[in-house]
Every structure is written in structure tokens, then in C-alpha cells.
């Protein structure tokens, strides 16, 4: 057999993995390396030359107060959104696995927001906040509702959080549902025979065994919220007065609006590192205490 010759190996690899390798390198590896190089230049996006400027972009990023503000705002938004997404998702998962009538219908229904892109969702909610809620508020003369929440900085942030919770809760619910179903019913029954109420059995037996679902949902919501762009663009567009510009939008503007590609890329890298460190730490801590059934 010719199985071990070099030409056989190269041939097999090229036929089967060649296209994947080329696409992966062309779209991910090359831009990643080129991006590192860009952070050391002061390219404006148009000119042929890319003047080398050393660490200037990183210094500019470190001194960019607007960037750090956006990053802080993103961290705040992420923490609140992650907490509420997971609370709502877990609650819904508990309800739709309790053997209630029509649970499949509810599962399918709560998932609907995930089918639709962030741009469209953002505009739908913009209508809700700007028109529908205002109209309700004026009809019942209830002060806090009679002007649009999107018009104030705090309100815009609240709107972003509400939409994110609404958008992701259904998806995370599905993961928690899978978690609930993976815990064997006999364990619950054993706990109930030992005198637990149903809710005690849920919280002391089922939940600890679902730890991997929690780790996974937290990781997914954390990374998604940290990098959110679509909803931010359509719902608030960073308004009012740039008070709701989240980190990803700031990076986008830095490069494609102000044409500071080097600084933008340096800030994108900082954003990525922060996000990766938080995500990986969370997974590490979460996995460490996993319980074996």
C-alpha cells in the first residue's frame, strides 16, 4: 500500500481539507495577523502608504477616554443583561419542563425573537418604545411612560437591556431545558421520597447537576452582549448624545467613520482580550466545581 508516502498524504489533505484550509487562513488567520500589523501603523483607509508609528495607537487607545467610557458602559450593560437573561431563561425553562399543557408550543414561541436579525428587532422595538409605550403613557397620563425612554441616556440603556433580555432569553431557555431533561427523573423522585418538596428537589438536586448548562449560558450571553452591535445600531444608534455607544460600535466608528484604522484595530484587540479573559475565567471557575451525577 502507498498509504504512508508523502505524496499520498499531501494529496489526501489537499482534496479533503484544502478548501477549508484556504478559506480559514484567508478569512481568519491572515486578517488576524494583518490586524496586528495595522495596530502599528497610522493608516487612514485610503492612502497606499501605511506609516509605521510604533506603539502610538496603543497609547492613543489608552488615552481615549470615550473608548474607556464605552467599555465601562458595555461592562455595565453586559452584567445586568446577563443576569436578567439567565434569570428569565431559567424561570421559563422551569415552567416549560414542569409537564404543563402546551409546553412545546411555549418553547417554540419564546424562541421566536432569535429567528430574526438584530437590525429588524431593533427597529421593531424602537417603534414600541417611541410610539406604543408613549401612547399608552399619554392615554393613562402616567408620567414615566409619556415620553420616549430612548430620549434619555439612562432610558436608552434600559431599552437596550430590555431588548437583549427579550432577544436571548428564549435561546438560553432551550439550553436550560436540555439541562433539565438531562437530569434523570429518578433522582428527583428519590429526593421527593426523602421528603423534599418539588421546589426543594429542583434547587438542591437538579440545579447542581445542571451546572454545565449554567456555565454554557453564561458564556454565550456574556460574549454576545459584550460584542453586541446590530441592536445597538438600529435601536439607539448611540443616541442620545453618544450616551449609548457600546464598545463594538465605538470600534466601528473609530475605523469606518473617523478613518483611524490603527487605533480602531488596537481598541478592537483590547476589547477582544477583555472579553476572552472574562469568558475563559468564567468557564474555568464554572467547570472546576462541576458535580458528577
Amino acid at each position: 500500500m502507498k498509504k504512508n508516502t508523502m505524496s499520498y498524504k499531501i494529496g489526501q489533505y489537499t482534496i479533503f481539507a484544502g478548501p477549508a484550509t484556504i478559506l480559514f487562513i484567508g478569512v481568519v488567520v491572515l486578517p488576524f495577523i494583518y490586524g496586528l500589523y495595522l495596530t502599528f501603523t497610522s493608516w487612514d483607509g485610503v492612502s497606499v502608504e501605511k506609516p509605521f508609528v510604533g506603539l502610538e495607537n496603543y497609547i492613543a487607545a489608552a488615552q481615549d477616554a470615550v473608548f474607556w467610557q464605552a467599555l465601562g458602559r458595555t461592562a455595565f450593560y453586559t452584567v445586568i443583561a446577563v443576569i436578567f437573561v439567565n434569570l428569565v431563561a431559567f424561570g421559563l425553562a422551569y415552567l416549560v419542563t414542569s409537564g404543563i399543557k402546551g409546553q412545546n408550543f411555549f418553547r417554540a414561541g419564546f424562541f421566536i425573537p432569535n429567528l430574526i436579525g438584530g437590525i429588524v428587532l431593533g427597529y421593531v422595538w424602537k417603534f414600541v418604545f417611541n410610539r406604543a409605550l408613549v401612547s399608552i403613557g399619554q392615554a393613562i397620563s402616567f408620567g414615566p411612560l409619556s415620553t420616549s425612554w430612548l430620549a434619555t441616556p439612562d432610558g436608552a440603556m434600559l431599552c437596550l437591556i430590555i431588548v437583549s433580555v427579550w432577544q436571548y432569553a428564549g435561546y438560553m431557555m432551550l439550553i436550560y431545558v436540555a439541562g433539565f431533561m438531562s437530569v434523570s427523573k429518578s433522582l428527583m423522585e428519590a429526593a421527593e421520597i426523602d421528603g423534599c418538596t418539588q421546589s426543594q428537589a429542583t434547587f438542591y438536586v437538579t440545579v447542581p447537576l445542571m451546572r454545565s448548562s449554567f456555565v454554557q449560558c453564561l458564556f454565550l450571553t456574556l460574549t454576545r452582549c459584550f460584542m453586541v452591535y446590530d441592536v445597538n445600531l438600529s435601536l439607539t444608534k448611540g443616541e442620545p448624545f453618544g450616551s449609548s455607544v457600546l464598545a463594538a460600535m465605538h470600534v466601528y466608528n473609530q475605523a469606518f467613520t473617523y478613518r483611524r484604522y490603527g487605533t480602531g484595530q488596537a481598541e478592537a484587540l483590547i476589547l477582544f482580550i477583555v472579553c476572552a479573559v472574562v469568558g475563559i475565567t468564567q468557564v474555568y471557575i464554572g467547570k472546576k466545581g462541576e458535580v458528577e451525577a
Binding site: L30, Y34, F111
Partner: protein, 286 residues
């Protein structure tokens, strides 16, 4: 009342409470969609004066649809989205399942390196790659503004995750004996792959196809950076452009938003079970 009756009664009450909570939350969940559906049949004036009324003062109208379809170029945009999504999805499925096959079945250094690189790359968010992507392919190679570039980029970004999932499926679900039998019967590796392995990967193919097709269909950022020519726009970019131009006429906006949501909602109506299953198994393995 016996203990059993008490317990049964308690169960009925707790189920009733849970049902009420679920129904309330469900209504809150679909409230935004309901609003769009209600207002799409009203004129702009009626929407402004009362967005909550079921039927506007000036009555029921379907005039918003043809106008929105025309100014959004909906049929063209829909076709563009369809072409980009299906081609990218099929390409991702072929390219990554083949790569996964050679990676699982051979202990070669190149395979290990590729697979490690792919896994590591899964933590990199798109925002880190978008600026160099634009400057490389726009500035240096000048190949932006083409549908083929968008399709190849979509595929390139999803190939890591897809290869990872096919890797798991081939590793655990495809018995080596089958391939050995095929080899003895005179099949080449290529034939073995297409006749034996690929058909057995159906469940994973479905999962990957659903996850990636949804992601491609809804993606905004990458297409917005790649496509500048209006006749190539996909639904999300067209929606964004439409809102920029017509944001004062809410009737048209409602129609455009509904049109943008309709295709995938209709699909969900028929494939709901598969989509929910696909998304769940994709998330749990990923």
C-alpha cells in the same frame, strides 16, 4: 380529604398558576410582533394618532405593502439573501465535513495544526477581524462588492465551528469498520467518504445547516462592509437603508419590517421542531 386528593389538588393549582405566568410572559414576548401586524394595515396618520388601535380611523388598508416592496426592492433583496445564504451554507457543509473527515481519520501534523488553529479561532469575535478584512480585501486585493467574496467570507468564518461539530460526529458515530469494509470492496477514500460517511452524517448536517443558515440570513455587519452596490443588498442591509430613508412614514416602515421577518417566520412554522432541536444540539455541543 385524603392525602392523595390534597396533593392532586395542589398540583392542579400550581399548574394553573404556572399556566397564567406563561401566558402573560408569552403575550409580552410577542407583543412587539403583534404591534407590527396591527399597524401594518393602517395609514401613517392613523399610526401616529393611535398606534394601539386595532383598526385605524381611516379604515383598513393594504397600501403599505406594495409601496414598501417597491421602494425596498424586496424581491431582488430577498433573492440576494436566498442566494448568499444557501450557497454559503452548502459550501460550509461540504468544505467542513470533508476537512473533519481527514482530520479524524489521520494522525498527521498538518491536520492537528489545522484543527488546533480552528478551535483557538472560535474565541475571536468578528469585530477583531473586520477592520483588517476590509483593508486587505478592499484596499489591497480590491475584491469587495461582490457576492462571491461575501459567500467565501461567510464560509470562512463558519468553517471552524462546523468542522468542530463534524469532527465530533465522525469521531463518535461513524464506525471505522464500515470504512474498512468499503476499502476491501475497492472504494477509494473519496468514494468511501461520499458513499458511506457523508450520508451517515445527516443529523449533524441538519444541525450545522440550521445554525449557519440562520446566522447568514440575519447577519448585518459583514454584508454591510462587503456589499456597497444596492442591487446586491441582502434583507438586513436593505432594512437598515430603508429605515434611513423612510423613517417618517411608519406605515411603510411597518410593512418593510414585516416583510423582513416573514420569510423566516413562515419557515419556522413548518420546520419549527427541527430548528429548535438543531439549535439546542448545536449549542450543547459547541
Amino acid at each position: 380529604m385524603t392525602e392523595n386528593e390534597k396533593a392532586a389538588r395542589k398540583k392542579v393549582i400550581s399548574h394553573a398558576i404556572m399556566m397564567v405566568i406563561l401566558i402573560v410572559v408569552f403575550i409580552l414576548f410577542i407583543f412587539p410582533f403583534l404591534l407590527v401586524v396591527i399597524n401594518v394595515f393602517k395609514s401613517n396618520g392613523d399610526i401616529t394618532s393611535n398606534p394601539l388601535s386595532l383598526i385605524g380611523e381611516h379604515g383598513f388598508t393594504t397600501a403599505n405593502f406594495p409601496e414598501a416592496m417597491k421602494s425596498m426592492d424586496f424581491l431582488v433583496v430577498f433573492r440576494n439573501s436566498l442566494i448568499v445564504t444557501t450557497t454559503s451554507t452548502v459550501l460550509t457543509l461540504l468544505v467542513s465535513s470533508m476537512a473533519a473527515f481527514v482530520i479524524v481519520r489521520n494522525k498527521w501534523k498538518a491536520c492537528a495544526l489545522l484543527f488546533a488553529g480552528m478551535i483557538a479561532s472560535m474565541v475571536i469575535p468578528f469585530q477583531v477581524l473586520m477592520i483588517p478584512l476590509v483593508s486587505l480585501y478592499g484596499g489591497i486585493f480590491g475584491v469587495l462588492n461582490s457576492r462571491i467574496t461575501l459567500i467565501l467570507m461567510h464560509t470562512g468564518f463558519s468553517v471552524s465551528m462546523a468542522t468542530f461539530m463534524f469532527h465530533g460526529a465522525i469521531h463518535t458515530n461513524i464506525p471505522l469498520e464500515l470504512e474498512e469494509a468499503a476499502l476491501i470492496d475497492g472504494c477509494s477514500r473519496w468514494q468511501t467518504y461520499w458513499k458511506i460517511v457523508f450520508p451517515l452524517l445527516k443529523p449533524t448536517i441538519a444541525t450545522v445547516a440550521i445554525i449557519d443558515a440562520m446566522a447568514f440570513w440575519n447577519d448585518y455587519l459583514l454584508p454591510s462592509l462587503v456589499l456597497a452596490r444596492k442591487e446586491l443588498y441582502t434583507i438586513p442591509i436593505a432594512t437598515q437603508a430603508f429605515y434611513g430613508t423612510y423613517s417618517t412614514d411608519m406605515g411603510l416602515v411597518m410593512a418593510a419590517l414585516l416583510l423582513a421577518m416573514l420569510p423566516i417566520l413562515i419557515l419556522y412554522l413548518f420546520l419549527q421542531r427541527y430548528i429548535v432541536e438543531g439549535v439546542t444540539s448545536g449549542a450543547v455541543k459547541g
